[in-house]
């Protein structure tokens, strides 16, 4: 089994709802985003490429790619980041992590692994999101775990549930009859940095 995300770049409007839903669900501290919306276009966020009238702009979202052949899990000296054999989700154990940040150096996808550089700080003085989410720990690495706590209950990840454009599809890509497998079979799609051989489970429909 390999849980995966298919992101429809034709539907995505770059509204950042998925990023915010993720931040709330997982009670992420200030300045930390496990899932982000990035502009495929000009030199700055929300700017197009090309010159008028031949302009183009689209969006992708970037979070942990839950690779089938992850670079991060191999290099972890204590096995704090590992591939869950049941779901194929790349997990992160804050209790085991020693904070060496080797996984961050080994991961080819920039910024999807987030280190807790300080004691987590929050704008609000109360916790948000799910009560099943473990608290973040200063001096350890954290990242998207595909809302493992929701998936276990049969729910979709928060980013998928929140997307107003229904641009995000979640499911098992090892099951040829799943909705996501059928979607991927019917549409052209790509993986980020497929040349690195990590075989990401996040696909972008184009």
């Amino acid at each position: 089994m390999q849980y995966a995300l298919a992101i429809d770049t034709k539907r995505c409007i770059g509204c950042n709802t998925c990023a915010v839903a993720c931040k709330i669900e997982n009670n992420l501290p200030d300045t930390m985003w496990w899932n982000r919306v990035l502009t495929v276009g000009g030199d700055h966020t929300d700017t197009p490429q090309g010159s008028f009238p031949h302009l183009s702009m689209s969006y992708i979202t970037l979070s942990c790619q839950h690779c089938k052949n992850p670079a991060c899990t191999k290099v972890c000296p204590v096995g704090a980041t590992y591939k869950d054999s049941e779901t194929g989700i790349v997990m992160q154990d804050y209790k085991k992590c020693i904070g060496c940040r080797y996984c961050m150096a080994a991961c080819p996808y920039n910024g999807v692994r987030n280190f807790n550089w300080r004691e987590p700080e929050y704008t609000f003085d109360f916790s948000q999101g799910s009560e099943d989410v473990p608290s973040l720990v200063k001096g350890t690495v954290s990242k998207c775990i595909l809302c493992n706590h929701r998936v276990k209950k049969g729910l979709e990840p928060a980013c998928v549930a929140a997307c107003p454009e229904r641009a995000r599809t979640f499911g098992d890509i090892d099951d040829p009859n799943s909705a996501i497998s059928k979607l991927l079979a019917s549409r052209s799609n790509y993986q980020l940095l497929d040349e690195k051989g990590t075989n990401p489970s996040v696909r972008f429909l184009s």
Binding site: T31, M32, W33, R36, L38, T39, V40, G42, D43, H44, T45, T47, I60, L62, A71, K74, V75, C76, P77, V78, G79, A80, K96, C97, I98, G99, C100, R101, Y102, M104, A105, A106, C107, P108, Y109, N110, G111, R113, N114, F115, N116, W117, R118, E119, V137, K138, G139, T140, V141, L192, L193, K196, G197, T198
Partner: protein, 383 residues
Amino acid sequence: MRKVASVAAVVAVIGLCAWIFQCMNGLQVTGMRDQSSWGLYITNFMFFVGLSAGGLIISSAPKVFKLKGFGNISKVAVLTSIVCTILAICFVVVDLGSPWNIWHLFVYGHFTSPLMWDLCVLTLYLVLSIVYLVMLRREDDAAGVSSKLRGMSIAAFLVAILVHSVTAWIFSLNVSRAFWNTSLMAPWFVASALVSGTALVLVVVVALRRAGKLRLEDENVQKMAFILGVFVAVDLFFLFCDVLTGAYGGAGDAYDAIIMVLAGPVAPFFWAEVILGVVCLVIAFKPRLRASANLCVVASICAILGVFCKRAQIIEDGFGNVNLTYPGVETGPAVHGADGAWQGIGSALAYWPTGLECLVVLGIIALGVAVFCFVYPKIGQDR
């Protein structure tokens, strides 16, 4: 020597305080961020593993290959080696975000990780070099080299080569960074280790001789300077191979990585390495110049700084070249500039250390100086 040790001990204590401050406040007090997750500490880790491996190799190689050595430098070289290994381990410890979890390495050890291999090899290496030093001291009075000592020097020699190869593999086995992902890295690291290790031993023995703590003929200093030149030549050859291979393609990740060191923000480190290497070569290969012990020390310092520049490039270029070039791909608290704004990918150095990091590094180096000064009188005068 006692005076030097006391000053060093004070600096080491200041460094320790800085590290405790870092533990309390988290690694936000360093210049490292999500984009450049390693910095000055890991630079120094690579650097000190090199200093240590090189020292041990030049001490043991004459015994391994039954050559005439460099005079009575064996014990000094092994002692600097031991001290540098301890410092290298210290640099990994201060780099950890959760050093209080360090025992996890022994309980949950995950042996697909090159960091775990390095831990095993470094430990073995430290034990071997201590045993080797004790044996060298015992055999002081015996004539010639016993077969036991020779066996030990062969073991130490091989592990010294292995320890730096494994350190290279920590970087070179990663597909994520174009600048690192080359099979040349391990042999190159061994060559650089020989450069910096020989140079360090040369500086230390000349300093000890000047302080009247060691007898050493000029001839041996010159011989070491010459062999240093040979090592620097090999190191520069590897550098040329790496640059040519990356640049020749004219496009792609490897090309971008090389352009960043040739003409990008990392260029000062690259050209400093080249110039320092050439200065060292000139002094080492001109008999008139290397006749002066002072110039030999200058050549050695050039060589050491050159290797450090290479280590800095590994961090700056490795993290400076991002694979995904979308605007705003960086995460975490801002690090660049007083205005807090990111300067854009590839246009600036990905990482610059903070004063606190420098204090911790100085403290660790001072600890090494203090340990050396404390132990040196106890290893006995070399004959």
